[in-house]
Symmetry: C2
């Protein structure tokens, strides 16, 4: 029997736990497809990656994708959901740890930025290279043309971003919220390029090769914090720094 009915396409599938029911290599199939798809999507893009490339690398039958995910779109959604849920979970864990330590007081902007963007860099270093691949893919897709995936990503992001923005508003009460929102957006762009664009960077300078992930984190953080606390455009005079009120 098919897992998916074509009348109600949904994200969550009826088949959740397969190891408990049918042993053998049933559970591997889904994971193998997801891993292969993630790597190929990051390598070639969503459109340029065919089902046959995915099933070929995964070593499964072509029809397996439609059986397990209902189609290519379903597979794409699941590839993103799998990692993004975990990433945002870690982010919120880090944020809540900060909130507990602060005991009601506004958080330091640097701590908030580190909890959000630093966690992404951690994930990029984790997962034996798979994390960097995925985050590179996500950075591309977020501003990409595929409206279907973009809306899905925004939906998955919404709650987590909202929580962090709320804390940033509290941490920088003197900075207009619109300004903070924009700068958060700029920080996402810088981070996206930091994770995914090391290849692009080296194109400018032939002999450049310092892509140590351990050194990337402080580099990006310095830039992000400098940008976040940069002089406000004109609302408070050109020399006004965007500083939080509480120490």
């Amino acid at each position: 029997m098919l897992v998916h009915n074509n009348t109600i396409p949904q994200t969550t599938h009826r088949v959740i736990v397969m190891t408990d029911v049918h042993g053998r290599q049933g559970p591997e199939t889904r994971t193998r497809i997801l891993d292969a798809a993630e790597a190929l999507f990051a390598e070639n893009g969503l459109d340029a990656t065919s089902m046959r490339m995915i099933t070929g690398r995964a070593g499964v039958n072509l029809a397996a994708v439609n059986y397990h995910f209902g189609g290519k779109d379903g597979l794409i959604q699941e590839v993103f959901r799998r990692r993004l849920t975990e990433l945002n979970r870690r982010r919120l864990v880090a944020l809540e740890a900060l909130q507990r330590a602060a005991d009601g007081a506004p958080l330091r902007p640097s701590s908030i930025v580190k909890a959000f963007f630093g966690t992404a860099l951690e994930m990029a270093a984790d997962m034996d290279g798979g994390g960097a691949r995925f985050l590179q893919l996500m950075g591309r897709t977020y501003t990409g043309p595929n409206e279907f995936v973009r809306n899905f990503l925004a939906e998955e992001y919404a709650e987590c971003v909202d929580r962090f923005l709320t804390e940033l508003y509290r941490a920088l009460p003197d900075v207009p919220r619109e300004e903070i929102l924009w700068r958060f957006h700029f920080m996402m762009g810088a981070t996206s390029y930091a994770i995914g664009g090391a290849d692009a960077l080296q194109l400018f300078t032939g002999e450049f090769d310092d892509r140590d992930p351990a050194r990337l984190e402080p580099r990006l953080m310095s830039f992000l914090l400098g940008g976040l606390r940069g002089a406000l455009p004109d609302g408070g005079g050109q020399a006004t720094q965007a500083r939080r009120s509480a120490a």
Copy 2:
């Protein structure tokens, strides 16, 4: 006779000036194709845009693309080359104006940043909306998976970026060049999101709508300059600001 020989695929085509030779609507065809392709590429991405969509919108025959550009790849190259050459030309004009005014002295970092990234924002506002479309497309493609186009973009960018980096090195002699290089990369990411990701931003906040291009420029510049002059990671202590030596 065909314009392109399949033995030597080249960027520059034999047909350069068509208005002078054949009047009617010969010259329009190339431009109409480029305009339609640019809009559709930005809308759907390179892969998801078919030749039939392009020729359909342009109102020309399907084979016209292969005739004038030698194929889809040739068309893509020309779409980027047309605008990118003009953008980098304006950037270098702005830089040379600064150099003349400085009379040998190091330039102000803010001036350099403005000449490079501000010119992009100007172009995004120009060209009756076409500029924003193109720059959005370019921001996506630069970190995109298509290696063919990425290499081409890097090649077109190389000289201009090199000139600006040289000036930045002079303006910030106390900052390690690697650091400046990375921050330049981060600035490109922030700018890319600033230009192309306004839609993505509003997904976070339903009622957000302040996308006035005139207000975007000072916003982005404040962020970029703050990031560029942010505290150095650790080479000079955490409190060390990355300031230029000459006033």
